[in-house]
Amino acid sequence: MSARAAQLPRETRDTLFLLLVVACCLAPLAAHLPLWGVAMAGAMLGWRAWLAWRGRPLPGRWVTAVLLAAAVALTAATHRTVLGYEAGVTLITLLLALKTLELRARRDAMVVFFLGFFTLLANFFFSQSLPTAAAMLLALLGLLTALVNAHLPVGRPPLAASMRIAARMALLGAPVMVALFLLFPRLAPLWGVPADSASGRSGLSGQMSVGSVAELALDDSVAFRVRFAPPGGQAPPQSRLYFRGPVLSAFDGRDWYALPQAEDRGLVPWARPTPPELRVQGEPLAYELTLESTRRPWLLTLDAVRERPEMPEGYGAAMTPELQWQASRAPSSVLRYRAQSYLDFSHGPLAETRALDTYRQLPQGYDPRTHALAQQMLQQAGGSPEALMQAALARLRTGGYRYTLEPGMYGTHTADEFWFERKEGFCEHIASAFVILLRSAGVPARIVTGYQGGQVNSVDGYWTVRQSDAHAWAEVWLQGRGWVRVDPTGSVAPDRIGLPLRLQAPRTGFGNAMGLVISPTALQRLRAVWEAVDNRWNQWVLNYTQGRQMNLLKRLGVHSPSWQDLVQLLGLLTALAAAAGAAWAAWQRQRQDPWQRLLGTARQRLARAGLPLPAHLPPRGMAEAARAHFGEEAAAPAARWLLHVEQARYASQPRRALAQLQRELRRLDWPRRP
């Protein structure tokens, strides 16, 4: 097979290589495409490879036309549009695969290359992580290699040679890239990032479905990183690390929603959330938070933040009535901001208001047994909401309830099933059942989602919070105290809160295999190093924003930098590069052989006097021609000098006479126009 590959006709080899590169560009997109798209693109690439391998002719125009029509129709059917970036990504993938089927002339190859560059970019819609960047760099080099190879028409140049040329180009282009990346003004989006369509992401989702999740897949990817100020500053204990996300206050029997969405659905038409009314004590804790791309406007903050977080240029931030901070638009990439949190706080109205009724709402006809239980417990608690809450927590602690990540599917009455039948679940089930119980007794309660805990990286001191740290807890309104955070999960599984659970390696095949040869501590260490590198990547590359550009200018000595300064700096760099190029060109010209230059000057002078001579004429020939043209006398000095040149040139030490000749040349009496 490899022997056959080495002897493939050049055409076949090039086609197969290009197909390989195209496949590499498309492979990471497979996870984000509809299944039929993956199958279709794969089939087309495979077919083209088979045709190339067998040396068969390409399919006719009508075949590609039919395939194209099918691709467009299926895309439109799947995404209900052919515009927008999800449909666009599907379409461009199929177009690229389809174009390889009519890869005949060089023009077709060019179109494949251009589509290839677009697919590289399309990959970044989904991930901008370091591994993605590395993979795309390789794919870019592959595309350039194929392009270079296509422009080596002679013989059968080895691919390694093309690869070297491509790498050299990329290496030479790297300074340009760095300069442009640092200085190209960062503009605001031109027509708005489309609202989130990245559904199916793990972590928080703005909606909580209690019954339908049979098993919680632990997603070990990073949600955000926190650095407490001053750098390496003291973090609060794990048990107090509650990062607030969306607050879910509306329940339709099955799913929990945040209030504005509930309004849209007409569930609670008159509901208005209670204002935050935040009261804080003590010193704030300052930190810097780097949020991985969520494509949601949520800002995760450690409870509770009173002042507006310090956002990058172009972002606003506002607090919702439920104490959650939201950015003015969804970040499409990593977002970094600074905030100050007061760990000692209370919020919400201290006395009963009409708005609190929102948090007592429950849909009719659900969870009758929980309802009964609530009435009974309220009686036992003497009508005190606080005593009821304690009783509910006590029941969770002692009633044989179990924390599990695999609770199975729940039926219609989720709270009933939890309290009386299954008695197991993870934080969402526990919090939901708890809040339903309290609401059944008429106590205002709501669910807060966010992240709990985190892990400090021993390499760079950043705290890492993972998607698997996603958590749901409850807030209960109590007369005179406002909203009180209650974490019912802590009652069922005290381990879940405040203790670093995740000390195991990622649960992948690779991780398992590694675990066999490398000790767990070494593996953890390795992981810490990797995450530190990944964090650097985020901080330096993905989070390079307008603000940092301006900081760079400030460091360069510009007092009040603006984007015009960036453009000026770019212009200056371009001018410098051009000047360097011109200097180099001049130097190249000067690098001529000194003897050649000497004769060149002489030839110029003779030509000016009316005797053009060919460049290949030796000095003796020039002398003869000059004598013949100008006459013996007029040409004598020049002829003498030329013969001197010839003599010196072939002497044993030609260099010696050179300076002398150059001096003579300047003073030489040249013949005039006869």
């Binding site: 060019m110 901008q128 030479l172």
Partner: protein
């Protein structure tokens, strides 16, 4: 110029373009050895180059709109690579020497092959250097090895006979990305001599003329002493045919038969005379004479040539043939 003959300029724009081209070409010095420098290399983006520029623009807009920092990196790395490719592309031609070997004379109607040597004094190879007669679009491509040389051949079909300039040549490269065309125009100093197109089929050679000053009267072609050979003429007895030569002639594909000549060579001289062709058109005359010269040469006869301005004594051999053909080319 060969290949695509210059179309008659239509409209003021074409006229302007033609003028511009003439002015530009007139600036180029005529030389058989051209060393390429910044001064004589031109560079412009190709259609694919504009396509790539558009691609870069779209990538940039997408990066801005979706705020993709990696998108910026990709766009700028691609832009940087393209900038580097311009440098590589220009470097492929810069410093290259082109040398045209003196072209061989050719018959009108046949392609004249121009042999060009490419010399590379650099320590790295130069890839995909293409050469063509300007406007012909027929590119001959070669890689020039590091510190070595390569040879390229381009052909052109001269439009008329006589001594004429070698057409303007173009060297170009699209290496490495095909996005930029780097090219140079070259006006070689060499001239090429174009012989008239030999007439085919040509009538048989004219009969010999009585030798001037030879007193002997022409007797009938007797069966006297064998003294030489001449071209077969209608009516020659079969036994006069030199069959050994005929066999060789048939083997080489020409059907020229040779007869034994007895006394003729002494009494008759073969003169190829412009006046004897019986044609009025000078081109047709030259054409027929060229054909006769070739025929006589092939048969190994002595022949002389008489054209206006030239009177070449009968002789034979390659040098004589060449002299005759040159005279025909230039008459």
């Amino acid at each position: 110029m060969a290949g695509r003959t210059d179309p008659a300029p239509r409209g003021p724009r074409a006229a302007l373009a033609a003028r511009w081209r003439r002015w530009w070409l007139a600036r180029l010095p005529r030389t058989d050895t051209l060393t390429l420098t910044q001064r004589n290399i031109y560079i412009l983006p190709t259609g694919a180059g504009w396509g790539l520029a558009l691609t870069l623009l779209v990538l940039l807009v997408a990066s801005i709109n979706y705020q993709l920092n990696l998108g910026y990196l990709l766009t700028f790395l691609l832009a940087g690579s393209v900038a580097a490719s311009v440098h590589l592309s220009h470097g492929t031609l810069r410093g290259l020497s082109l040398h045209l070997l003196a072209p061989e004379p050719q018959f009108l109607g046949a392609a004249t092959v121009l042999q060009v040597q490419l010399h590379n004094r650099r320590r790295s190879p130069r890839h995909a250097v293409a050469l063509a007669v300007q406007g012909s679009g027929q590119w001959a491509v070669a890689d020039v090895p590091a510190g070595g040389s390569a040879a390229l051949q381009v052909a052109f079909s001269p439009a008329r006979r006589g001594l004429q300039d070698v057409p303007v040549l173009t060297a170009q490269t699209l290496f490495p990305l095909g996005t930029f065309r780097v090219w140079t125009l070259w006006r070689p100093a060499a001239q090429v001599l174009v012989y008239p197109r030999p007439e085919t089929p040509a009538p048989p050679l004219p009969p010999g003329q009585p030798q001037t000053g030879g007193g002997a009267s022409a007797s009938a072609r007797g069966m006297g002493e064998f003294e030489g050979v001449r071209a077969y003429q209608r009516g020659d007895p079969m036994k006069l045919v030199v069959w050994k030569k005929a066999a060789r002639a048939l083997a080489t594909g020409s059907d020229d038969l040779v007869s034994r000549d007895t006394h003729q060579s002494q009494r008759h001289e073969l003169w190829l005379d412009a006046a004897a062709t019986g044609l009025a058109d000078p081109e047709a005359r030259a054409s027929r004479l060229a054909s006769w010269v070739l025929q006589a040469d092939r048969l190994g006869l002595d022949y002389g040539l008489r054209v206006p301005g030239h009177d070449i004594r009968p002789a034979q051999g390659a040098a004589h043939r060449r002299r005759c053909l040159e005279a025909l080319a230039l008459c």
